[in-house]
């Protein structure tokens, strides 16, 4: 029985659509792609009064033209996929701008309801919206909601279910006589040729706008009626109507300087902007290390307990040396070592989520636009780079917001230089072991060096490449808002879950694999790791890595294993040196001793950190690069180039560092 209502959520970016959608669907949502394109589509279900509603979320769009993938996808969804009712989420504090999309949606001819979101902000500002006049003028129901406060949700759903059968007037905007006449004539012609068409008026308007998609789909000769594109006229007249609505409906337009503007005066100040940004990033990393470390203590204890318990258990069943070693020195050492970094990762993602949710990220694009311009990119390219501090994979995908192909490619290639969270365990471990009081500085310097390298590479690329028109920055700066605990909670939990899953899958397997190649050699099971296959491979690399200060076969093996996932470098080190709890004091001391025996000093440690920062990213990142770059040639470049850069820079730093220290 088709009791299932299909409801589409459509609205501007930053209007609270996602928050509202989540409020209804909770965590029960399915994420996929819209058919044929790589734009995200979210589907969920909600249950109200014994009815099941299927909710479909669309990408945030500003209008329904056919100029961008997001718009096309949403249009297609509404026209072809059988939506019963559309909920148009509108940010009440930006009513004027949001109405542009609303008018277009209504003109489409499907049942539309407006969810007027963020009413609390409107109240705060002393603005008032006439909730009787607005629905009157638009001809659709208007329901005030607050996604964050979760108010009005029931009413909205209720209204949606009752509005389904309504076919309200398509005449929300009445254009001037000339245009209305043409619409009439065109409509008649359309009805003659395409008898079954719904939304005739909308299509007629599209023809007048020279809309590519519609003209291609319904080829008609209308040259006698349509002498030119009326797109600009139609847009302007829509805005005229919007102004009418605003005049009547909006009382007390906020005239006092809004809080957001006050904050922006400081955060986007032409002199303070960048220092503030660097300061904020420094603070984020400070928290990541200190609070993270504080929480880590508990993990270490738990890990130690588990390790002991398992060890005892195995000896109780008289397990063979092979199996015991596999489990303790392989699996537990490798995976356990990684798990203990969870607190650091947690803090990092929490901070990034807060920055994003508060609205600050877009300001960063503006603040960095100057520097980005000097390296041939727009400020918008900085956002993917910033995301790269979390994980390269979504950062590379975020480069889709850049319109220029060359800029996209450049951004994708330099993003891996931004130190991703997976490299954090490497820094934390080695900086704490070798740099004592300066551990945090050493680790923070990695992020700075990564940023500088990314900028330098982009700069060089822009000098070598062809001189082309730069695409200028264009980004909306939403209102600042207090980060929503619920959405942040969901997001960070997702990240934590991801981390745990990664530990239990990729790192689990990688640890076993590393353990295997380190314990199997020409003679089968070896006593001395130095005789294993792994060692043989590592030893091949020693001459190459020596100038870079990494001339130990163990390091070579660890770095190779980093291709699976960067955390595996730490896992491998654990396995290589037989350390069970690598982040505990005892574990670190043992490791320190073993490394020192091989001549590994602080300078070598720093070299290792730098090499890890810069060299080829993990398999997942490379695979994503291939998908986004769509070119084997550039992907190969993305694999080899970082490797070469890593070697050069590390060698440079190691040699110069050695020289300076030698002088002392």
């Amino acid at each position: 029985m088709s009791d299932e209502l299909r409801i589409g959520f459509v609205g501007n970016p930053n209007c609270g659509k996602t928050t509202l959608f989540n409020a209804y669907t909770g965590a029960k949502l399915k994420v996929a792609n819209w058919p044929g394109v790589t734009v995200e589509r979210k589907e969920g279900a909600a249950r109200y009064h014994n009815h099941i509603y299927k909710l479909i979320d669309t990408p945030g769009i500003y209008s329904l033209t056919s100029y961008s993938i997001e718009e096309k996808v949403t249009r297609k969804f509404i026209l072809e996929e059988g939506v019963d009712v559309i909920i148009n989420i509108v940010d009440a504090s930006s009513l004027e701008r949001n109405l542009y999309l609303t008018l277009q949606l209504i003109e489409l001819g499907k049942p539309v309801i407006m969810a007027l979101n963020m009413m609390d902000i409107v109240e705060e500002r002393g603005m008032e919206i006439d909730l009787h006049r607005l629905p009157e003028m638009l001809g659709i129901p208007v329901i005030p909601v607050s996604a964050r406060k979760k108010s009005g949700l029931d009413i909205l759903m209720h209204a949606a279910s009752h509005h389904v059968k309504e076919h309200h007037k398509e005449y929300v905007v009445v254009y001037n006589d000339e245009i209305e006449e043409k619409i009439n004539t065109i409509s008649l012609r359309i009805k003659e040729k395409f008898k079954d068409m719904e939304n005739v008026r909308w299509h007629a308007i599209k023809f007048l706008e020279y809309d590519e998609e519609v003209m291609k789909k319904y080829p008609m000769d209308l040259s006698d009626i349509i002498d030119r594109s009326y797109e600009t006229d139609i847009i302007n007249q829509k805005y005229d109507f919007i102004e009418e609505i605003i005049d009547e409906v909006l009382v007390n337009k906020a005239t006092k300087e809004e809080k957001t503007d006050k904050i922006d005066k400081i955060l986007t100040n032409r002199f303070l902007g960048i220092p503030i940004f660097l300061g904020i990033m420094a603070f984020v990393f400070y928290l990541t290390f200190t609070v993270g470390d504080f929480l880590k203590g508990g993990f270490d204890i738990a890990l130690g307990l588990i390790s002991d318990t398992v060890s005892n258990g195995l000896s109780m069943i008289n397990a063979s040396q092979f199996v015991t070693s596999l489990i303790i020195d392989g699996i537990i050492a490798g995976v356990g070592g990684i798990l203990s970094f969870l607190p650091n990762i947690f803090i990092l993602f929490l901070a990034l989520a807060i920055l994003e949710d508060s609205g600050y990220m877009s300001r960063v694009a503006y603040v960095m636009d100057g520097i980005m311009g000097k390296i041939g990119l727009s400020g918008k390219a900085f956002i993917p780079m910033l995301l790269g501090f979390g994980c390269s994979v979504p950062a590379i995908m975020a480069s889709r917001t850049l319109e220029n192909e060359r800029d996209r490619r450049k951004t994708i290639l330099i993003t891996p230089f931004m130190s991703c969270s997976a490299k954090l365990p490497i820094y934390v471990l080695f900086s704490q072991m070798f740099f004592g009081a300066h551990a945090m500085m050493a680790a923070y310097s990695m992020y700075l060096i990564g940023l500088i390298m990314a900028i330098m590479v982009a700069f060089i690329m822009s000098k070598i490449g062809e001189k082309k028109e730069n695409i200028s920055l264009l980004i909306e700066l939403p209102e600042y808002k207090a980060p929503n605990a619920r959405s942040i909670g969901i997001y960070v939990w997702e990240k934590v879950k991801d981390y745990l899953i990664k530990a239990g899958t990729t790192i689990f397997i990688a640890s076993i694999a590393v353990w295997f190649i380190l314990n199997i050699g020409m003679t089968g099971l070896v006593d001395n790791m130095g005789d294993s296959f792994g060692a043989m491979i590592g030893k091949l690399l020693v001459p190459i890595l020596k100038p870079a200060g990494l001339g130990l076969w163990q390091i070579g093996v660890a770095l190779i294993s980093g291709f699976a996932a960067k955390e595996v470098v730490v896992s491998s080190i654990s396995v290589l040196y037989g350390i069970n709890n690598v982040t505990s004091i005892s574990g670190m001391n043992s490791l320190l001793e073993l490394l020192a025996n091989d001549g590994f000093t602080a300078l070598n440690a720093y070299a290792l950190m730098i090499f890890s920062l810069l060299y080829t990213p993990c398999l997942a990142a490379v695979a994503t690069m291939k998908k986004e770059l769509k070119s084997a040639k550039w992907t190969a470049f993305g694999i080899v180039f970082p490797l070469v850069v890593a070697w050069l820079i590390t060698t440079l730093i190691y040699q110069i560092g050695g020289f300076i220290l030698w002088q002392k």
Binding site: E96, R97, N236, S472, I475, L477
Partner: protein, 74 residues
């Protein structure tokens, strides 16, 4: 005179926008049409500007700023 030469804190009226279609439409969807009033909130040395149009805050780069022609007024 274009938006690029505007002063922070002032309000101007847009005369026309001289950009390629895609960007122009994007700006229009954000509310920037001929005859609209814009207020400049912030300006950087390299020409990037933050301005307000129809209650929306936009940040644009130098090139776009220089393509927005303004009506001479006051």
């Amino acid at each position: 005179m274009t938006l690029l030469k505007g002063t922070v804190g002032n309000t101007y009226t847009v005369k026309e926008i001289d950009l390629e279609q895609i960007t122009k439409r994007r700006l229009e969807a954000l509310g920037l049409t001929d005859g609209t009033k814009v207020t400049i909130l912030n300006k950087k040395e390299n020409g990037s500007i933050i301005f307000k149009v129809r209650g929306t805050r936009l940040a644009i780069g130098r090139q776009i700023a220089d393509s927005i022609a303004l009506k001479e007024e006051l």
